[in-house]
């Protein structure tokens, strides 16, 4: 844990130099406690990502990436591959680097600061975790190296239109046919489902709607017959898709993990997603706080910078406190994502989800408020970070959903 204890890291938000209205990552900020708590490899990793983001993800460059066909930058995707980011969490035998949750946290924080658009969460974190933890050697050998070299993108096709946030509400069915299976149903709001080459699909192989048992995960070729996708843009400008499956035939080797016991694996995938987006949210909050602080220094009202008004100062101090409490929760999630005790893991990650959701809402809403009219415009970065925090709070279930879960566990 000490390796995650950058008490002074808090100064980031306050010290960052601001480039095109967004704080630039500081490479050799002496006060950045991570300097002395990161291993050399971690340091190298963080620096190289920060440098890449500074060079390629200025807010105007981001607008260009958005205009690409898929709504994100294929060139940067290759860069991520070259940097080894796409294989980061995988074992070396699968072309990976055996990175831990801490490395993923560093990457997602940097991505959050830059508000990236590429399908890293969907492919490496969600899809990657499903295959890494649930896949057979054959499946891992087929998928993970392809993820690592950037040639295969995944998406986690679990949520359904009627399910809202209920993880066991799976009505998509898979029935045996010969050696293989036939899938029918529909998946909703599948993050980056439009560009995925392979879909990790949850389907019911037995039991009724809401049953915990009887859910199975399948690896489905996104171009297979019977798979139809409607891609669209989310409020945070990331892409998602509605996926319909009608009579989709897959082989026995498409089953990921155990037939009928998919729920545990689904929960691991979701937990990994929560931990990753928690870190991303911290990066976004850093950017929001940094931009708002900078704005409060320059924007004048009644002849004084608004940052000279005590109410604005205290609001920024409260945003800072929320950011730091949120950062603590992102660290908790990162530490817990590999915890063997499932109940302990789920409980702590649920706490992190609630904490991050509330921190992100407070910081992003006040960042818009303190920017006044400017915060309402699409031209400024503020509103884009605001909406990313809004979407993150609702990925995998919202704050109320996890608080209710925690309430049932009170004893």
């Amino acid at each position: 844990m000490a390796g995650l204890g950058p008490a002074i890291h808090v100064f980031d938000g306050a010290r960052k130099e601001v480039v095109d209205g967004r704080p630039k990552a500081d490479h050799d900020d002496r006060e950045n406690a991570m300097d002395f708590t990161l291993s050399d490899e971690q340091r190298l990793l963080k620096d190289s990502i920060d440098r890449l983001m500074a060079d390629r993800y200025a807010f105007d460059q981001r607008k260009t990436h958005l205009k690409e066909a898929g709504g994100w930058s294929t060139a940067l995707w290759s860069q991520y591959a070259e940097l080894g980011l796409l294989g980061l969490p995988f074992a070396e035998q699968y072309g990976g680097f055996g990175g831990s949750a801490v490395e993923i946290m560093l990457v997602m924080e940097a991505f959050g600061r830059a508000l990236i658009l590429e399908p890293y969460l969907a492919t490496v974190v969600l899809g990657g975790t499903a295959v890494r933890l649930g896949g057979s050697d054959a499946q891992k050998s087929r998928v993970l190296p392809a993820i690592a070299d950037g040639s295969m993108k995944l998406a986690f096709a679990h949520g359904e239109r009627q399910a809202r946030y209920d993880v066991t509400d799976v009505m998509t069915t898979a029935r045996q046919s010969g050696a293989g299976w036939v899938l029918d149903g529909a998946k909703s709001v599948v993050t980056h489902g439009d560009c995925a080459d392979t879909l990790v699909v949850s389907a019911r192989t037995s039991g009724e709607r809401d049953d915990a048992a009887g859910i199975t995960l399948f690896l489905v070729d996104a171009t297979a017959n019977g798979v139809a996708r409607r891609g669209y843009t989310m409020r945070d400008e990331q892409r998602a898709a509605e996926v319909s499956l009608s009579g989709v035939q897959v082989g026995a080797d498409a089953v990921l993990g155990e037939v009928g016991n998919g729920l545990a694996l689904i929960e691991r995938v979701i937990e990994a997603g929560i931990a990753a987006t928690a870190a991303e949210s911290v990066g976004a909050m850093e950017a929001l706080h940094g931009m708002t602080l900078e704005y409060s220094r320059t924007r004048e009202q009644f002849g004084k910078p608004i940052g000279s008004y005590q109410v604005v100062q205290h609001r920024l101090a409260e945003m800072l406190m929320s950011l730091e409490q949120g950062r603590s929760m992102a660290m908790l999630a990162a530490m817990m994502v590999d915890e063997p005790d499932a109940a302990e893991r789920a409980h702590n990650i649920a706490m992190a989800k609630v904490g991050i959701g509330q921190a992100g809402r407070f910081v992003s809403q006040n960042a818009v408020q303190l920017h006044g009219g400017m915060g309402m415009t699409e031209d400024l970065a503020i509103g884009h970070y605001f909406r990313r925090c809004m979407v993150i709070e609702r990925l995998f279930g919202d704050t109320a959903h996890y608080l209710a879960m925690l309430a049932t566990e009170v004893e």
Partner: protein, 401 residues
């Protein structure tokens, strides 16, 4: 209102309710129940229906087509209209321009502009804010130089809501740059949006929609006869306009409509395996909002019923309480409606963003619209003086600190 209207007021509410029920075009009501904002043609159509009934120029004297209502009656009407839900009256035409012309305008100006404003034959917009002059209005820079029978206007306005729909704009300009106090040397002009030299540039807001604009004035010639009140006395006009009756500033009807809609939709979605409406925490959240709405409803009644008694015409500083509490509720209730949709509230609904993307709709319209309202109403605590400014006003005017 639950808090004991007089029988007359109750009868009036029923009359308003019945009229809206019978005359609001079904197609408009349906779109708005789904959470869509009214289109320009919806607003025009409905305001004309109301105007025929004599209910459009609600805050004007009878001689200019006003219904002669008390403030409480106006409050009742505005709330019923919001709850319906029906398009709201053009506040630029009815609440802002009308009273200004009636107070400061020449007979010719009243004759020419009031009837068309009431009937929304002219769509008006407000040219006040400028870059760098948000809540600090008096620092405006847009200049008007006298040139014979015209003013030549140069400068820029921002946050100009519906300028892209507008036929006319009332604009604050600086006619005397060398005035001792910033407030002196400002004039109030009526500008035809078709005048050469006016450029309207859209501002897309964080809901992805086009409500706001920048308006650029490049040697725009405005006839002197279109100046309201004396030259360099425009600040008096602006103060009157801003301090002018604030009935409806809380927009409580809109909050009530959002909660009603959220409860309705919460029957259709699930949380923890049962309908969301049965979820304990969700019900607590609704109960708390209903308590807060009830308190504001009564506070509004107290403030508004006092308007009619005030003789000094000073704006009631308590309007700031309505503004702060009202916008807090607007933001809480629109967030609630968005949360009901859950994951389905996060995709962008295509038509809303037609300009920016060509994606087909996904998910129920109400969910995507709920998010649009949530996003746009982040501005509710900013426009018309941020909530921080409102607390400054209370500090000065009520606390006397």
């Amino acid at each position: 209102m639950d808090l004991r209207f007089t029988p007359e007021e109750l009868a009036f509410r029923d009359e308003v309710r019945a009229f809206i029920r019978d005359h609001l075009p079904a197609e408009i009501r349906e779109r708005m129940r789904l959470g869509y904002g009214p289109r320009k043609e919806d607003t025009v159509a409905w305001q004309r229906i109301l105007n025929r009934r004599g209910w459009a120029a609600i805050s004007w004297p009878k001689e200019w087509g006003g219904p002669g209502w008390t403030s409480v009656q106006k409050m009742i009407f505005l709330e019923e209209n919001q709850v319906a839900p029906a398009p709201e009256l053009s506040s630029f035409n009815i609440t802002m321009l009308g009273p200004v012309l009636i107070q400061f305008g020449t007979d010719a100006q009243k004759q020419r502009f009031l009837p068309r404003a009431a009937n929304l034959d002219d769509w008006w917009c407000q040219g006040f804010s400028e870059p760098g002059a948000g809540s600090d209005l008096a620092s405006l820079k847009t200049a008007a130089k006298r040139d014979g029978e015209h003013y030549v206007v140069n400068g820029q306005k921002i946050w100009t809501s519906t300028a892209h729909h507008a036929d006319w704009c009332f604009v604050l300009v600086r006619t005397n740059p060398s005035a001792a106090k910033r407030q002196e040397g400002i004039s109030f002009l009526l500008v035809d949006m078709k005048t050469p030299g006016i450029t309207v540039r859209p501002i897309i807001s964080i809901d992805g929609a086009h409500h706001l604009n920048e308006v650029f004035f490049d040697n725009v010639r405005v006839p002197v006869e279109n100046r309201v009140y004396e030259e360099n006395r425009g600040w008096d006009v602006a103060k009157f306009l801003l301090g002018n009756e604030r009935t409806g500033i809380a927009r409580l009807g809109k909050s009530k409509e959002r909660v009603r809609s959220a409860k309705e939709m919460a029957r259709e979605v699930r949380e923890g395996g049962k309908p969301l409406i049965e979820d304990a925490a969700f019900r607590q959240r609704i109960a708390q909002l209903e308590v807060d709405m009830k308190a504001l409803e009564i506070t509004q009644y107290r403030v508004v019923s006092a308007y009619d008694r005030q003789r000094d015409g000073r704006p009631d500083p308590l309007s700031s309480v309505l503004k702060v509490k009202g916008t807090e509720l607007l933001q809480a209730t629109t967030e609630l409606a968005m949360d009901v949709g859950g994951p389905l509230s996060m995709p962008i609904w295509a038509e809303e963003l037609a300009a920016l993307s060509n994606e087909p709709d996904v998910g129920p319209e109400w969910a995507t619209q709920a998010t649009g309202s949530y996003l746009f109403l982040r501005a509710a605590s900013i426009y018309g003086g941020t909530n921080e400014i409102q607390k400054n006003i209370l500090t000065k005017a009520v606390l006397r600190l």
